[in-house]
């Protein structure tokens, strides 16, 4: 089961209206057979860039974050519903990223180029495209005939 995160930017509205919009957007998730884990209010602030949606230019927005589970096939429908909602300025759904442990490879990356694995692979790859050289099979390390 994949947990999704929905970033919802709402236009500036009085509180009761914001509540209505949040209820509406949450109901659409429930309607798709999903459930909500968390709703976070990230505050109202100036947007980093102005956005025009539904014929209006917005420079401020209220940020809301939903954490929810829903069948993956219904994500497109959900985004489509929010796109048609006039109170929503912007919406994005991302997968909630689980932190995977990995090793820092900086030490190998700062080695001189000939010692790096990716450079060695690159050189080996380039050698494949070299023209085949004629083998005289004389057993000598020089050309015995006059050139």
């Amino acid at each position: 089961m994949i947990t999704y995160e929905l970033m919802l930017l709402l236009r500036i509205m009085p509180k009761p209206e914001v509540k209505q919009v949040l209820q509406r957007t949450a109901d659409q998730i429930f309607g798709k057979g999903g459930f909500i884990r968390k709703i976070e209010n990230l505050g109202t602030r100036d947007m980093p860039y102005k956005t025009s949606s539904h014929g209006m230019v917005h420079k401020q927005a209220s940020y809301f974050l939903y954490e929810f589970n829903v069948p993956p096939s219904s994500l497109a429908d959900l985004l489509d519903e929010y796109a048609r909602d006039v109170d929503v300025i912007r919406r994005r759904i991302y997968k909630k990223r689980e932190p995977e442990p990995f090793e820092c490879t900086l030490q190998e990356e700062i080695l001189p180029p000939p010692y790096r694995k990716d450079v060695q692979d690159m050189i080996a790859d380039a050698k494949k495209h070299d023209k085949p050289k004629f083998q005289s099979n004389t057993g000598l390390d020089y050309y015995p005939f006059q050139k």
Binding site: P48, I89, R92, Y94, C104, L106, Q107, E109, I110, P112
Partner: protein, 137 residues
């Protein structure tokens, strides 16, 4: 001259080792001799410390909602993401930072053509004027 003095010292040093081995045959001195033996099981004390990038060192999870952190990897003039040769991050972390920045910009959390003015005073994590990766030469 230094080399000569070392050469003179070497035979003396060998004698000392031979003498200790003769003493070790006596049962009374054996335990003390074993005490003085070097511990060969220990890790290499001359092994160099492995360098780590700044995010791995402090074990920081990069997230697209953490705009204050992400904006430190963004140019204040063009809003573009600094490359690996400037940030000094390892390959995995750099890719993570880049993908999280694009996510944040797409979600309307982060500026695209500039760094937001509230983050301009943040401390510098790396020297943008000197875009060279750390090396030992």
């Amino acid at each position: 001259m230094n080399f000569l003095t070392i050469r003179k010292l070497l035979p003396v040093f060998n004698n000392v080792i031979i003498r200790t081995s003769t003493i070790s045959t006596t049962p009374g001195r054996l335990s003390k001799d074993q005490e003085d033996q070097p511990n060969f099981d220990m890790d290499n004390p001359f092994e160099k410390v492995q360098m780590k990038c700044i995010l791995c060192k402090h074990n920081i999870q990069v997230d697209y909602k953490n705009v204050k952190l992400l904006s430190q990897f963004q140019s204040p003039y063009t809003g573009r993401i600094y490359g690996r040769h400037i940030t000094g991050l390892c390959k995995t972390q750099q890719e993570l930072v880049q993908s999280e920045i694009t996510k944040a910009q797409s979600a309307g959390l982060m500026a695209t053509y500039l760094k937001e003015s509230c983050f301009l005073e943040d401390p510098q994590l790396f020297d943008t004027e000197n875009p060279i990766r750390p090396h030992k030469y």
